[in-house]
Structures are given as structure tokens and as C-alpha cells.
């Protein structure tokens, strides 16, 4: 197990290096940051000085090495726009995004898995058809449009919930949380719902497919032949089997949702990472873009890693290397 962990960590480190190169080169191709940094009426002297100070006169590979060198010391550079360390900037926005993402994915799982399991257990019931109809709809409606509809309905027409912003937060361990206040909840509700609909549709599908396959399997037939009630068959036998793929989905979804929050945060003016990255792309704030993309990649790799570990914990076949 330890060997497995070390091997995976080394792999992850290699992947991060590759990603840092790709991201750095990719972002390098976006716009010309000099236009952002230097006012058009600056003197030629100031221009050249600034270019030299940021190292823009050097070849790409050297710029990358400089970047990598500071990166190793935990320094992502300074934001061109906010003029503060990028790492601080990102860390200050991260909790809002994490909160939104977790609320969306947990909500999607808690609702989606039971609905999907029911639809798989009784595939022909009217309720199941309704659930599947909802799931196809959830798949098809673009996230941003759901957000608009929700704002129009709940914020503009009914005026029950606020249309944007994060609302009151409470500081715990130096981090601001909105789930701890009623006002925070009311701000979180619409964006979290928006973000979770697509995920819920996916969870419903996965749970349904797993359930259908499991109900046709021999071990379920054998369990039923033992006189187990359907409830015991499902919760005693099937649940653990289908939870293995579902944990994978949950992990991957957590990561994908983190990225998809870009759209939702823009609509609801949610002060998280997604809004930050859109703003930085528009204002050509390179250091923020690079750091954000690397952070997302890092989170992806860590989540994948966690999924593998959870997989091993759930499936005895993987645990003993039998898979």
C-alpha cells in the first residue's frame, strides 16, 4: 500500500510539472500584458524598464524557468491588476468557491442517488419515468440559463431570495463561511441549486444504471432466493456494490463542478475563484490565470488520488490486487 502511495505521488508530481509547462505556454499566448501594465502615455524609458522588470524581454523558456524557480519557493508572483501576491488572492477567494461547490455536489448526490436508485429499481413506474425526464432536462438545460430563470423567478418575481452576492459570513479558523448564517444560506441557495442541477441529472443516471445492472445480477437473485426482502437486498447487498462507481463519480464531479462554478459565479456575482478567473482573462492578469489553472489541476490530481484510495477501501478485489 505504501509503495502504491509513493508511486502515485511521484506520478502526480510529474503530471504537475507537465501541466505547469502547458499552462505557462498557453497563458503566454493570451494577449499582451504590457498593454495592461503600462499606460499608453508612459515614456519609452518607463516602458523598457517595466518590460525588463517583469522579464518580458527574455525568451519563453527563461521566463518559465524564472517562474518555476519562484514557484518552488511557494511564490506564484503578484497579480498585475490587484497588485498583491497571487497566492493570497486565490486563497482569499477559495473558500467561497469550495463552499458553493460542496453544497452543489453534496446536494446533487443526496437527492440524485436515491432518485436514481428508485428509477433503476422500478424502471417502468410512472415516478421513474418522471425522474428520468427530469434528468434528461437537467442534462440539456445550460447552467447559465437555469441561473437566469431562478433569478427571475425567486429574486425578481417572488423576491424571496437575493439575486447575487455572498451575504453575511462568519469567520471560523480565519476563513469566511456563509453556511453559518441564515442570510448566507439565502445567498447560497440559488447558485448552489443552479450548479447542482446538471450534477444531479448525472447522479440520477449513474445510480439508475448501476441499480438496473445490479438487480439483474446473480448475487441479487441468490439473495432474493434466500428470502431477503427487497429492502435488505438493496441496502444490504446492492448499495455497497453500486457505491463503488458512485464514489468515483462523486470525486470527479467535485472537481468538474469546481471548474463549472465559473459560469454560476459570474451569474450570481459570487465572489469566488470562477469570477476571479473570468475577470483575469478579460484583464489579461497572467499570474492569476497561471496560478488558478495550476490550482485546479492540483485539486483534480488530489481528488483523483483520493478516489483511488476510497476505491481500494470499498472494493476488496482492488485492495488485494485482484482487480
Amino acid at each position: 500500500m505504501l509503495g502504491f502511495l509513493i508511486q502515485r505521488l511521484l506520478q502526480a508530481a510529474a503530471v504537475m510539472v507537465v501541466i505547469s509547462v502547458l499552462v505557462f505556454c498557453g497563458v503566454f499566448a493570451i494577449g499582451n500584458p504590457i498593454d495592461v501594465l503600462i499606460s499608453p502615455d508612459a515614456t519609452q524609458e518607463i516602458r523598457l524598464d517595466t518590460i525588463r522588470r517583469y522579464g518580458f524581454d527574455q525568451p519563453l523558456w527563461r521566463q518559465y524557468l524564472n517562474f518555476a524557480n519562484t514557484l518552488i519557493h511557494g511564490d506564484f508572483g503578484r497579480s498585475f491588476v490587484f497588485n498583491m501576491p497571487v497566492l493570497d488572492l486565490i486563497l482569499s477567494r477559495l473558500p467561497a468557491t469550495l463552499e458553493l461547490t460542496l453544497a452543489a455536489v453534496i446536494g446533487a448526490t443526496v437527492l440524485g442517488v436515491p432518485l436514481g436508485m428508485y428509477a433503476g429499481y422500478r424502471p417502468n413506474a410512472a415516478g421513474s419515468r418522471a425522474i428520468m425526464g427530469l434528468s434528461v432536462l437537467g442534462f440539456s438545460v445550460p447552467t447559465f440559463w437555469v441561473g437566469l430563470l431562478l433569478i427571475m423567478f425567486f429574486a425578481v418575481e417572488l423576491q424571496w431570495l437575493p439575486a447575487g452576492g455572498r451575504g453575511d459570513t462568519v469567520e471560523v479558523f480565519g476563513i469566511q463561511w456563509s453556511v453559518l448564517t441564515w442570510n448566507g444560506w439565502s445567498h447560497l441557495a440559488l447558485p448552489a441549486l443552479t450548479l447542482s442541477l446538471f450534477r444531479m441529472a448525472l447522479m440520477i443516471r449513474m445510480a439508475r444504471a448501476g441499480m438496473r445492472e445490479a438487480m439483474l445480477s446473480d448475487y441479487v437473485r441468490f439473495a432474493r432466493a434466500q428470502g431477503l426482502s427487497d429492502g435488505k437486498v438493496i441496502f444490504g447487498h446492492v448499495l455497497k456494490n453500486i457505491s463503488i462507481p458512485l464514489v468515483t463519480i462523486f470525486g470527479l464531479e467535485l472537481a468538474a463542478t469546481l471548474a463549472f462554478a465559473v459560469v454560476t459565479e459570474t451569474i450570481f456575482s459570487w465572489p469566488g475563484l470562477g469570477k476571479l478567473i473570468i475577470d483575469s482573462i478579460q484583464s489579461l492578469d497572467r499570474p492569476v490565470m497561471v496560478a488558478y489553472l495550476m490550482l485546479v489541476a492540483f485539486l483534480f490530481i488530489m481528488i483523483n488520488f483520493a478516489v483511488d484510495v476510497a476505491y481500494a477501501a470499498l472494493d476488496p478485489r482492488v485492495r488485494s490486487g485482484h482487480a
Binding site: D218, F222, A225, H237, S320
Partner: protein
């Protein structure tokens, strides 16, 4: 003496989009305690569906449309869901073909046995453990303790099937329906399991319905035989007699196509054609298209003919007794 299991006129049909599949279409079976009945047929003959019907495990779009299944005199057809569930696993048990698939891969053997026990009895963990160990011991597993803690993939195929049999025995049922339980196993393991089953029937008095396509297995194990074809029993009787002297042309054909019966170099006999699709079966004897003895009389469904000596065949032109 009441039969342990008595099946009369059982019909199980599947109502599919393409039409009604009459998988089981009027099956009679009877078996006494401590006896072994071999239910023989090709794949698609309806023998597995018969087994599942007896336990009430038929799912939509299939259902039992007619007939009766009596277990120790108790009628099972028409029981409500919960009553049927309380019979399953307690009075009648079933084991299946592939021991790889019938045990849940992600649960320990002990957990699965405990669930099977507690499905019918509210008992303490200690009792669960004792009875599980006892059952595993009964089926000849060498290290019951380790087995209880093992996951299925850690056991060999033969051991897994023994575990499945142990689970079936947990509540000392009157009848066990075994659906090709040795087909997926190596030949040496297969004969061990067969011996084990024989011993269990003698010792516990459980009645065993052994579903198989393998006549060799039946001849070494079964007291009686019922041969199934296209959803119906075509011949039944004491195993020795039927195998020595089949009266239905289909049974004859099956026996002739067993390689062991042929001499080396001699061409194997085979039954021409294949088993018909069970949708829109034409009237009359289902075997007549493949039968050398068929004539106009076979175009109406033959009745079961009592041939004496506890034997019967569903044939207008049964083979003569020697």
C-alpha cells in the same frame, strides 16, 4: 406421505413486445424427502425458469399464469409477496450456476450468511456465528473460521459453491433447487460436490431438484429424472430405467449424443435441428420437426402416457420397451 415438493400444471409465460414466450407450459413434478430429481434439458428448454417459478422468483414481464406448487402440502402460487418471501430460503432454497457471480463480491462470506440467517430469524450475533460455522462445516469446508472472514474472490470456485450450498442449508429447508451448480466447475471439483450433495440428502432428508443439461451428472446422482423440452416434461421416471431404456424419441436422441456412449472413431449421433423458439410455437408436439417418428397424429399435442413402472412419456409413438 405428502411429497416434499409437488408441482402441477405449472405455466410461466413472459409477455414481451414480440409476443408471449411460453417458457414453462404445463409442468408436473413430484419429489419425496431425501430424494434427488434430475430435471434435464437443453438450454432454452425452460428448466431454469421452472426452478425460478418454484421459488416465486419470476420478474416482469414474466409471471406464473396457471398451476400449483405445493411445498410440504402448502400452496405457494398466489402467496402475497411477504408470505412468499418467508418461505424462500427457509423452507425451500436455491443455488445457481456460477459461484463466481452468486456471492456478493464486496461482502465477506460471514456478512452474507448473517443476512441470510436474519432474513428469517431474529438471533444474536453469537448464534449467527455458530450456525454459520456449523453450516460451513457441514458442506466440508476445511477452515470455516477463515472462510467466514474471507471475501468471495479469495476462495476457489469449488469453495465458493460450497459456501453457496452452506447458505442454502442454513435454515434446513425441505427442498433445494440447484440450477446447474457444477457446470462452471472443474470435473474433479464437480464430482466432489456431487458426492457432498448425495451425502447431504441422505443425512438431512432434504429433497433436491437438480437442474442440468448433463446426463452423466444425473446418472450418478438422481433417483428420478424428468426430461424437459420446449417448456414441457416429455418423459419422466426412475433414473436408471429412463437412462437404460428411454421411451421418448427426444430422450433417446439426448442419450445418443453423449460422447461417452460412442465407440472411438464412430461418428456421434446428433439430434437434427435445434430447439424451437418459444414464441408462437405451432400446435402439436414441439419435437415433431426433429423427430424421425413424427406423423400427422403428432400435430395435436400428445397427452402424457402412463407407461407403467412409475414411468410416463408425452408421446404418441413412444419407443417400445425391450
Amino acid at each position: 406421505m405428502t411429497a416434499a415438493l409437488d408441482v402441477r400444471g405449472l405455466k410461466t409465460h413472459f409477455f414481451t413486445r414480440g409476443g408471449v414466450v411460453k417458457a414453462v407450459d404445463g409442468v408436473d413434478l413430484s419429489i419425496q424427502r431425501g430424494r434427488v430429481l434430475g430435471l434435464v434439458g437443453e438450454s432454452g428448454s425452460g428448466k431454469s425458469v421452472t426452478g425460478l417459478s418454484i421459488l416465486g422468483l419470476i420478474d416482469l414481464p414474466g409471471r406464473i399464469v396457471e398451476g400449483s406448487v405445493r411445498l410440504d402440502g402448502q400452496e405457494l402460487v398466489g402467496l402475497d409477496r411477504d408470505a412468499a418471501r418467508r418461505v424462500r430460503g427457509r423452507k425451500i432454497a436455491m443455488i445457481f450456476q456460477d459461484p463466481m457471480m452468486t456471492l456478493n463480491p464486496v461482502l465477506r462470506v460471514g456478512t452474507q450468511m448473517s443476512m441470510a440467517l436474519r432474513a428469517h430469524e431474529a438471533i444474536s450475533s453469537d448464534t449467527v456465528r455458530q450456525r454459520s460455522l456449523a453450516a460451513l462445516g457441514t458442506v466440508g469446508l476445511p477452515a470455516p473460521e477463515q472462510c467466514l472472514a474471507a471475501y468471495p474472490h479469495q476462495l476457489s470456485g469449488g469453495m465458493r459453491q460450497r459456501v453457496a450450498i452452506a447458505i442454502a442449508l442454513l435454515h434446513s429447508p425441505s427442498v433445494i433447487v440447484a440450477d446447474e451448480p457444477t457446470t462452471a466447475l472443474d470435473v474433479s471439483i464437480q464430482s466432489q460436490i456431487l458426492q457432498e450433495m448425495q451425502r447431504l440428502c441422505d443425512q438431512t432428508g432434504v429433497a433436491l431438484v437438480w437442474i442440468t443439461h448433463d446426463l452423466a451428472v444425473v446418472s450418478s446422482l438422481a433417483h428420478d429424472i424428468a426430461v424437459m423440452y420446449a417448456g414441457r416434461i416429455v418423459e419422466s421416471g426412475p433414473a436408471e430405467d429412463v437412462l437404460a431404456e428411454p421411451r421418448h424419441p427426444y430422450t433417446r436422441g439426448l442419450l445418443d449424443s453423449v460422447p461417452g456412449e460412442a465407440k472411438p472413431g464412430e461418428k456421434l449421433a446428433q439430434i437434427p435441428g435445434s430447439i424451437p423458439a418459444l414464441i408462437d410455437l405451432p400446435p402439436g408436439c414441439a419435437f415433431r420437426a426433429r423427430c424421425g417418428r413424427a406423423d400427422r397424429a403428432c400435430e395435436t399435442m400428445p397427452e402424457i402416457v402412463d407407461l407403467g413402472g412409475n414411468r410416463s412419456a408425452r408421446c404418441v409413438h413412444p419407443l417400445e420397451a425391450a
